[in-house]
């Protein structure tokens, strides 16, 4: 039997297991998938936990619900990839051989990379919301919060879901307004980028939106350390910002296993062909999702679009044909902006997010770069779509097709 190995059973890995299971001849191929955890987290839901909109049980399900029968599942920490020998070592000594492999080990948050971040205020007055633990701790903190300086800081680029911190401050603004304490809360959005977002048109639209909401933006701020005694964040250029409560997107890095395997860049992301999704180093290895270094957003929607391309190219590689399918970097993100509204951006490697309607030109129903109620429903629907369609690698039904597909190939 030929062996196809998938490392990581998060959004991307689970999706691929389902897609491949459908097309592979079961007599010929054994699909194996490995992950360290048994619980699948709906990460986009973490954003809503601090504000009591979701709770822990709304964002977790057993991973086993999503694997098709016949796929071999191993729960174990992956220790190392030895690409030269087509094998993977698991913690505890087990060795897995493969003919083809898909790496989908995602990113993890690394607060330890910033001095002082994991000091005495960690989970007391400093929180992340990129982990379930952080999101839940922040929910408890906000319940008793009566006002002060809330600072949202992004540590390093790239980080997954680049719009999440913008959504976070918008939701915080709405939450404090509803609690009747908005006038007692100062909100500052601190980013190493030159504006609210990188691409110029979206940056302006989102920057204006934050200004409208009286959220101050501090740009080009690259955080060096946190001073726990003075309760400030300090930048490399010595700027300092005071906080009463600090929410942070810690440095995002690929798995340490990638580093141990000598497969990553400075941040343990895997050098990958941005069009074919093949690893630069090994021809029988493909990379999907946040684990790669391709220059587009690290987001579930991107993994979804890329999965189809990867599928084509993997089949071509197996049949020794040239890899003709080309990923265009398509990303499509709903941006929750509070008060039951949302914005939507749609872009790829070459085209920045632009205004308009999506997916039907002139009709919509979703307004690109516009703050509307219908866009908010897109985000609400996304959770259902994620569990029932995306992870299972199914084709999108009509409505979802309109929001998720509609790639603008250039």
């Amino acid at each position: 039997m030929k062996k196809l190995l998938i490392l990581g059973a998060g959004t991307a890995g689970t999706m691929m297991a389902n897609k491949l299971h459908k097309v592979f001849d079961k007599e010929e191929w054994q699909i194996t998938i490995v992950d360290q955890y048994k619980t699948h987290y709906y990460q986009p839901g973490f954003l809503f936990i601090p504000f009591n909109i979701y709770n822990k049980q709304d964002v977790i399900k057993p991973k086993s619900n999503f694997f098709p029968p016949g796929v071999k599942v191993i729960y174990s920490v992956i220790d190392k990839i030895v690409g030269e020998e087509n094998k993977v070592l698991l913690e505890g000594g087990q060795v897995l051989q493969y003919d083809y492999m898909i790496i989908a080990t995602g990113t993890e948050t690394r607060p330890d990379e910033t001095p002082g971040l994991k000091g005495k205020l960690w989970y007391k007055e400093i929180f992340d919301f990129y982990t379930i633990e952080g999101a839940c701790a922040l929910q408890r903190y906000f319940k008793n919060f009566t006002g002060g300086k809330l600072v949202m800081v992004i540590s390093e680029i790239p980080y997954k879901c680049p719009v999440a911190p913008i959504e976070f401050v918008c939701l915080a603004e709405a939450y404090f307004t509803k609690k009747g304490i908005r006038d007692k809360v100062d909100i500052t959005y601190v980013t190493p980028m030159s504006g609210a977002f990188t691409k110029p048109v979206a940056s302006k639209m989102l920057g204006d939106l934050l200004e409208e909401k009286n959220i101050h933006v501090e740009s080009d701020f690259y955080m060096e350390r946190v001073d726990n005694d003075k309760k400030t964040i300090v930048a490399y250029d010595e700027r300092e910002i005071e906080f009463d409560v600090l929410t942070v997107v810690p440095v995002n890095m690929g798995s340490e296993m990638i580093e141990r395997s000598g497969l990553g860049d400075d941040l343990n992301f895997i050098p990958t062909d941005k069009h074919t999704l093949q690893s630069d180093k090994f021809k029988n290895v493909f990379v999907l999702g946040d684990a790669s270094n391709i220059p587009t957003s690290k987001a579930g929607s991107v993994a979804h679009f890329a999965a189809e391309i990867l599928m084509d190219n993997l089949m071509s590689a197996i049949e020794a044909r040239p890899l003709l399918a080309k990923f265009d970097g398509h990303a499509n993100c709903y941006i929750e902006t509070g008060y039951g509204k949302g914005a939507l951006i749609d872009f790829n490697y070459d085209t920045e997010p632009l205004p308009g309607t999506f997916p039907l030109p002139g009709i919509g129903p979703f307004g690109l770069l516009k703050n509307t109620k219908i866009n908010h429903y897109g985000k609400v629907m996304f959770r259902w779509i994620y569990w029932h369609i995306l992870l299972k690698g199914k084709e999108m039904p009509i409505e979802a097709d309109m929001t998720m597909a509609g790639k603008k190939r250039i």
């Binding site: 190493p192 030159s194 110029p200 080009d220 941040l267 220059p295 587009t296």
Partner: protein
């Protein structure tokens, strides 16, 4: 896109002021560009620019962290060399595209 003249040479720049064509770059152009922003380039600056050009040519994604690990200058030092947005300014003067780690 626009054309600008530096050191007697025409350079094509993007709307954000980055080189459209990296091969149009020269040390003289870089020096004059920086001077317009009120910055005098030293040998240390040029070491950083050369490093960026070399890395960009291999298609590597550039970040402040990466330059900080290059052995040429640490992150703090990079901020001293190019105040107010070190990667932004150094990439401009190095004649390379806007770093794409920003998505």
């Amino acid at each position: 896109m626009s054309e600008k003249t530096f050191a007697g040479k025409i350079v094509n720049l993007s709307d954000e002021g980055y080189f459209e064509d990296s091969s149009q770059w020269s040390r003289e152009i870089a020096a004059e560009m920086a001077k317009e922003d009120g910055l005098e380039l030293t040998e240390k600056h040029f070491e950083v620019l050369e490093y960026l050009r070399k890395e960009a040519a291999t298609g590597a994604a550039l970040s402040i962290r990466k330059v900080g690990k290059s052995g040429i200058v640490d992150i703090k030092g990079l901020y001293v060399l190019f105040p107010g947005g070190p990667l932004k300014f150094s990439s401009k003067y190095a004649g390379i595209a806007k770093p794409s780690s920003c998505v």
